[in-house]
């Protein structure tokens, strides 16, 4: 029996211009599961994700990580939930691959030897060890996305959140990233992927959440829900339409 690592209760957020970002969301995510959050652009996926590590704080409701409210300890929340953003370029801070991965552990005031160990462990996990002294902006799109993951891994998160991870990647890049995500899941981490491209990831998910207009409209097992997703502006996977088995992009 898995424990709930993320508990969201009646979560609402309104932006300063008055727009309602998310409204009355209730959701629980068990540790070690693979959750896909889907919905069309503007459905509130990113706003929801940003509440998981306190980048946005709720106007109403609570987000708890392992039973502790996110707003009580933001640093702890950001260590538990690592976030990989849609635009890797804006996430890369260091001048070399090593520097970028070291950024998080340096912020945690760890000592130099521990930082070095964490950086090389993270680079090894994403297959970028040989590029430690490379400048990040010379990496390919897929390598940049893996660097962003390494930057998060070096902080040893229990949950990794991906915001539209497949955007702007070519087919080999998507496959590499998917393999990476699955190996992180296999290593015991909780994975949350926000995407409108269900086809690329749905076969690997344990749980599917569909959002529309800032609310959760469907929440359940992917096999049971995938048929009705087009009503919410999400493309149904190609094989699912004639009733065939949905195949992994890795096959």
């Amino acid at each position: 029996m898995h424990m709930n690592i993320i508990e969201i209760e009646n979560l609402s957020h309104r932006f300063p211009d008055g727009t309602l970002g998310i409204d009355g969301i209730n959701l629980t995510i068990q540790e070690g599961t693979f959750v896909v959050i889907s919905g069309q652009n503007g459905s509130g996926k990113t706003t929801l994700l940003r509440h998981l590590n306190g980048l946005l704080l709720p106007d109403r409701g609570t987000v708890r990580l392992s039973g502790v409210s996110v707003s009580k300890d933001l640093v702890k929340a950001r260590q538990i939930v690592g976030m990989v953003f849609q635009d890797s370029d804006s996430q890369i801070i260091g001048e070399t691959v090593y520097d970028d991965v070291a950024f998080g552990p340096e912020n945690l005031c760890l000592d130099r030897s521990e930082i070095k160990r964490r950086v090389y462990d993270a680079l090894k996990a994403v297959g970028l060890t040989g590029l430690a002294e490379q400048r990040p902006h010379l990496l390919s799109g897929g390598e940049k996305r893996r660097l962003a993951i390494a930057g998060v891994l070096s902080m040893k998160p229990r949950v990794i959140v991906f915001d539209e991870p497949f955007s702007n990647l070519d087919y080999p890049g998507i496959r590499q990233l998917l393999e990476q995500v699955l190996s992180l899941h296999k290593a015991g981490r909780t994975i949350v992927v926000a995407t409108h491209e269900l086809e690329k990831v749905i076969t690997h998910a344990d749980h599917l959440v569909i959002m529309k207009d800032g609310t959760v409209v469907r929440d359940g097992l992917p096999d049971e829900m995938v048929k009705g997703v087009e009503a919410f502006g999400v493309r149904e996977p190609y094989n699912s339409r004639p009733g065939m088995e949905i195949r992994s992009w890795l096959n």
Binding site: L55, S90, I93, D99, E106, N107, L108, R135, V152
Partner: protein, 251 residues
């Protein structure tokens, strides 16, 4: 995108890469000040030293010259202004404008000194990580309690880190406008307005994304900075630089 600026860190194993950043900062100030009033013979000495250091650091000179071409145009303007405004014995007279022997001498010296200062800056930035510069600035500001050293150093390092991104965005905007025949509009103020507004908007958007990404990785001003340590080679280098500066002043 980082290819757009010559002023960026390049990994390497040269002597300059290995020197303590605080000493390098001191060398930069000392040689720049000594070079301001240097005679041609002294400028020759500095130039030879700089060529040796450039060879040792293995900087790609052709690429850098190409990247600095606009600076070379600026130097040309400085030179022309000097030869036309310095009084002395006339070499060429074209209507009311005269080119003087003293003007050519004075213009050459000013341009030579500027090239030396730019080269010193280039060598410093190319061989020093921004995080090390940040740590050195913090260290230098310790005796001045009224300065918020950590904040000043962070702002400096972010400016250096984001200069390539800003230049890249400016280039993309200019390309997009050229693709829609902006050259047909002859009014420079119109073109400046149409160029500056979207560039500034994009810079602010990027800054916003960066701030969120840094926050997600627990950014704080109190973090593990690079360990600054000086050794025998730094003190030997300091001795050599002091001797060089004394020679420059005395020649």
């Amino acid at each position: 995108m980082a290819e757009l600026t010559a002023f960026r860190f390049r990994t390497g194993a040269s002597l300059l890469h290995k020197l303590d950043v605080r000493f390098k900062l001191g060398f930069l100030v000392l040689i720049s000040l000594a070079g301001l009033k240097a005679a041609p013979l002294a400028l020759c000495v500095i130039t030879f030293v700089l060529i040796a250091v450039i060879i040792d650091t293995r900087l790609p000179i052709k690429v850098i010259l190409k990247e600095l071409r606009y600076f070379l145009i600026l130097l040309l303007f400085v030179f022309i202004a000097r030869i036309l405004t310095t009084p002395g014995s006339t070499l060429i007279q074209i209507m009311a404008v005269s080119v003087t022997r003293e003007g050519i001498y004075d213009g050459s010296l000013v341009c030579w000194r500027l090239v030396i200062i730019i080269t010193l800056g280039l060598l410093f930035v190319s061989t020093t990580r921004t995080s090390e510069i940040k740590a050195a600035v913090e260290w230098l500001l310790i005796p001045f309690p009224f300065f918020q050293g950590k904040r000043v150093a962070t702002m400096m390092s972010l400016v250096m880190r984001f200069m390539p991104l800003i230049l890249d965005q400016a280039k993309e905007t200019a390309d997009a406008q050229r693709a829609r025949c902006v050259e047909n509009r002859k009014n420079p103020l119109y073109r400046l307005r149409k160029f500056a507004i979207p560039v500034i908007r994009r810079i602010f958007e990027s800054a916003d994304k960066l701030a969120v990404a840094m926050e997600a990785r627990c950014y704080s001003e109190n973090r593990t900075d690079p360990w600054l340590s000086s050794g025998l080679k730094d003190w030997v280098a300091l001795f050599v630089v002091i001797c060089l500066c004394a020679m420059i002043i005395l020649i």
